[in-house]
């Protein structure tokens, strides 16, 4: 097994080369018929937490399906998804209320990798080369495993707040990561051993995005102050102009690598064509209280989806001009992905 992974690692290093986000962790190209949409559903209406819940967890909608089906756990509070793929090896991850779940057999069986030391797992980040290296963001800090989830270590040195919403590997340097914490955005260059604040200037990191064409181009959605942009790797930050000063939970760079979308609490969907410095409202629906996540089809940039709070998924196939419901009505959808 170790030999196979070593070969895979070498191949990935050759493929990735530190010049573009690796396919191993961000989704894969392939025939449409081979891919399905996956949605992480956190809540359905009428529930905060408790014993008996249905209609949340991991959902799938395959080509030809007219509805989403729950394929893993009817009562799993699901915050996010992750995929690691190399050749025929695929590992899917679910960041959930009771830990980090992983499947290595095409979602047939799952294993919870974390134990009582971690509480909710809010997001997962995967080393693009070494599948044994996993990072999770939790309400009590960033944890790292270097042995495929068998053991976890808290990695918080240099951080001033322990609530971390989002952790993300820098696609240009697999030793570097970003962590969106309550007070600031942090960066590490030694796989989490030490963190340095990037001084965004406002608290509450809700979304963290690194542009797929420019690793120094960073965008964060904040809990009260719109979107902040840096084009120098976090040395300086600017406010995204035109946006309301409220929570932005989702920021997404289109697969055309030009357009950037953002959405949040009672904001509608916003669009920027100048790297996130200025924004215009693209679409708003009074039914939608908030946008949690934005998905742009990797091959068809005009094909958009948004995951909402309580209104399921909306879809547009014309770049956001017109929208229709795409299922999971009543659900809080935290993440949408197109996976093989």
């Amino acid at each position: 097994m170790a030999t196979i992974e070593a070969i895979v690692s070498v191949v990935l290093v050759l493929l990735v080369g530190g010049t573009a986000p690796p396919d191993s962790v961000v989704g894969n190209r392939g025939g449409e018929a081979q891919r399905s949409y996956y949605a992480a559903v956190f809540l359905n209406r009428g529930h905060v937490s408790g014993g008996v819940v249905s209609n949340i967890g991991l959902f799938r909608r395959s080509p030809g399906d007219t509805a989403w089906s729950n394929i893993y756990r009817r009562n799993l509070f699901t915050f996010g998804l992750g995929l690691w793929k190399s050749g025929s090896t695929t590992r899917q991850y679910i960041a959930a209320g009771n830990g980090l779940h992983r499947s290595v057999d095409g979602r047939k069986t799952w294993r919870v990798l974390t134990d009582w030391h971690t509480e909710e797992v809010l997001s997962v980040a995967l080393d693009p080369v070494d599948s044994a290296v996993i990072y999770i963001a939790t309400p009590f800090g960033v944890f790292r495993s270097t042995d495929d989830g068998a053991r976890w270590q808290k990695k918080m040195s240099g951080m001033n707040s322990w609530f971390v919403r989002k952790v993300m590997v820098d696609w240009s340097d697999r030793s570097a990561l970003f962590a969106g914490a309550e007070d600031d955005l942090y960066r590490t260059t030694d796989k989490g051993e030490h963190w340095t604040p990037l001084h965004v200037g406002v608290p509450g990191m809700e979304a963290v995005v690194q542009h797929p064409a420019d690793p120094k181009h960073l965008l964060v959605g904040t809990s009260d102050d719109g979107v902040r942009v840096s084009v120098d790797g976090g040395k300086s930050w600017k406010e995204g102009k035109g946006l309301p000063n409220t929570a932005f939970y989702a920021v997404c760079v289109s697969s055309d690598k030009q357009t950037i979308y953002a959405g949040g609490y009672q904001t509608g969907l916003w669009k920027s064509n100048d790297r996130g410095f200025s924004w215009s409202l693209l679409w708003q629906d009074s039914e939608i209280e908030a946008i949690y996540t934005i998905f742009v089809h990797p091959d068809v940039p005009r094909h958009l989806m948004v995951g909402t709070s309580g209104q399921g998924i909306y879809e547009s196939r014309d770049g956001g001009k017109t929208w229709s419901k795409f299922g999971l009505n009543g659900c809080h959808v935290k993440q949408i992905e197109l996976y093989p």
Binding site: G51, V52, F77, R111, E119, P139
Partner: protein, 614 residues
């Protein structure tokens, strides 16, 4: 021998060594003496409760178990059990421990088909762990017992992809950790008349079925601790004073809370069978879970029974608990919560220090008194709510939290709610007097404070001195509002409301035992009037109690008693005539007359002895 076996062997050896050094250990504690003894009376109530519950047809494991144990209606019980084990829509932490508890209790009576279904549940359903302390206690109790019951099974046989050994080890570690925390710095969800049941029931289940003697003993000690914690705040079935979490109906009507039925079963109070009374709803949030006590072999040590019921002398009791895990917007994870209780034979005045100690359901202070009538309590609160408060404790997006919690708990954003924590509320109590101050921020969504005054009071008088005097039987309450107010009539109560942001009330409680007639009480009270000149700038109140003690309290500042600063940081874990413990020590000593029972959580031993009378 696998790791699980090794762990068990290790614990057996450790426990055996501990047992050798016990001075005296007895699960049954002090000996029973005849039919009038507490033990004999408990046995009668236990049988009575089983008899009543076994006649019910509620859908639940406790009803089913009661029917099997009494031999009543077992055909229906079997069908119900089959339904509970077939319905894939059921799962989670509540199911996690009740399903395995029922299995272990009834396994000799259950057909293999049912046993297989229960086993299957731990393979296919998500026993979701949840996000609160009580959730985790239920979850890990269930996982511990299930892994113990089906050892040596591989990862494919469990819903979470962990083997029996892995599940057992994780559950054992967490349960040990929780019991250590609970016995050193206290529960986060402490002293809750409602949530008491979802701690006590899994702890008793763990005690009943854990094979590891050390775990069993620790569960017994934890049950003792939780009962003792209740006992010192107990009066006639009421769980008195400040609570971390409670529901509005139970706050306004203390004997409707599920803990009251536990008090009836274990403390013998109230004397009447609660389920026959309109003020108690036995199905109310799982009241029949008390049946788990009736089926348990755990027996309350008599010393705790005495602590719960002997009110021959008034006493002061203080405690330190902890705030539930703070995940953001706070300087530390579990700041201390301080409790003060003044207990008499007819009333109890108890309080927390104020501020946000728990989200959603905090109850900061009250006077609760013995009464044949419902709604036997008086208290005030600021009905605070905010997304930021919730975000301190829950990881969801701050702007949603109020709405989400409101959907589930229904009342969170209601301006008329009867439970709330508030950063704008602080208390200072000394014996039967309390000053409660409010400094409500301009940005707060609710700018008023409310007081609950039951219509069942015998008298409610607005005296021209500014005092409001209330009488409920032989209990007297004097209530002094610092600012103008109004009365709003509601179904069971008068709502006292003041809409002044910088505000406060002073309350003294008395009784015919101490004060003679109601008129004499009033006469003593009006001699002293709170001094609060320039309050809007100083936020300071001086008050000399009818006993002559001088209290001075500044919101956000000092509390002084007779000129000496009161420092909550000096509070012990437990401190009073009945329970003593240093914070962090893991040793809890209970004292009643010359009897002592000591729980040593470090060594997992219980000691009992009699000390010479002073």
């Amino acid at each position: 021998m696998g790791a699980l076996g090794a762990l068990r062997t290790s614990n057996v050896i450790r426990f055996s060594l501990c047992a050798l050094v016990l001075t005296c250990v007895s699960a049954r504690s002090l000996p029973a003496q005849g039919e009038s003894s507490p033990a004999a009376q408990f046995e009668k109530r236990r049988q009575r409760l089983l008899d009543v519950v076994s006649q019910e047809r509620d859908r639940g494991f406790f009803t089913v178990t009661s029917k099997f144990i009494t031999g009543r209606d077992t055909e229906w019980a079997m069908a119900m059990l089959d339904s509970l084990t077939t319905d894939e829509g059921i799962g989670g932490m509540f199911y996690s421990y009740t399903a395995i508890g029922t299995y272990l209790r009834l396994k000799d009576q259950l057909p293999d088909s049912i046993k297989r279904k229960i086993r299957q549940a731990y393979r296919t359903r998500t026993m979701y762990r949840g996000d609160t302390e009580n959730h985790w206690v239920m979850y890990y109790t269930g996982i511990y017992l299930a892994a113990q019951t089906w050892p040596n099974e591989d990862r494919s046989q469990w819903f979470n992809g962990k083997s029996s050994t892995e599940n057992f080890k994780e559950a054992e570690q967490w349960l040990n950790r929780w019991m250590n925390i609970t016995s050193t710095i206290g529960q986060g969800e402490f002293d809750s008349p409602t949530y008491f049941i979802v701690f006590m029931t899994p702890v008793l289940t763990l005690y009943e079925f854990a094979k590891d003697p050390a775990m069993k003993r620790k569960a017994q000690m934890t049950a003792d601790l939780l009962f003792a914690d209740f006992a010192v705040d107990h009066l006639g079935g009421n769980y008195c004073g400040g609570h971390s979490r409670d529901y509005p109906d139970d706050i306004a009507n203390p004997l409707s809370a599920p803990a009251a039925l536990w008090a009836w079963l274990y403390f013998g109070e109230p004397k009447t069978e609660l389920w026959g009374e309109t003020r108690y709803h036995p199905r109310h949030r799982g009241g029949w879970e008390t049946a788990s006590g009736a089926t348990s072999s755990y027996r309350l040590p008599e010393i705790i029974y005495r602590i719960a019921t002997d009110r021959s002398r008034p006493y002061i009791h203080t405690e330190t608990k902890r705030v539930r895990n703070i995940i953001r917007f706070g300087p530390e994870k579990n700041p201390p919560a301080y409790k003060y209780m003044y207990m008499t034979r007819s009333y109890a005045l108890g309080s927390l220090q104020g501020g946000i100690l728990q989200p959603i359901q905090q109850h900061t202070w009250d006077v609760t008194y013995i009464s044949e009538k419902p709604n036997n309590t008086i208290f005030t609160l600021h009905p605070f709510y905010s997304g930021k408060e919730l975000a301190m404790f829950f990881p969801e997006e701050q702007k949603f939290l109020s709405d989400e919690v409101n959907r589930y708990h229904l009342v969170y954003t209601n301006p008329n709610k009867w439970n709330s924590s508030s950063p704008y509320e602080q208390t200072f109590q000394h014996k039967d007097a309390i000053i409660v101050l409010y400094n409500i921020d301009k940005e707060a969504r609710q700018s008023h404070i409310d007081g609950f005054f039951p219509k069942t009071l015998d008298e409610r008088i607005e005296h021209n001195s500014g005092w409001i005097f209330c009488r409920a039987g032989s209990v007297y309450v004097a209530f002094f509002p610092l600012k103008p107010y109004e009365w709003i009539e509601e179904k069971v109560n008068w709502r006292w409301r003041s809409s002044v942001a910088k505000n406060g009330v002073v309350t003294e409680v008395g009784s015919s035992d101490e004060d003679g007639s109601f008129e004499e009480f009033q006469h003593r009270i009006v001699k002293s009037k709170p001094a609060f000149n320039n309050f809007d700038k100083t936020f300071t109140v001086h008050y000399k109690t009818r006993r002559g003690d001088e209290m001075k309290f500044t919101f956000g500042g000092e509390r002084t008693l007779n000129g000496k600063k009161v420092d909550f940081r000096t509070y012990k874990f437990f401190n009073g005539p009945f329970i003593q413990s240093e914070r962090g020590s893991g040793i809890v000593k209970m004292t009643y007359e010359n009897r002592v029972r000591e729980l040593d959580f470090n060594k997992v031993i219980i000691k009992e002895w009699q000390q010479s009378k002073q």
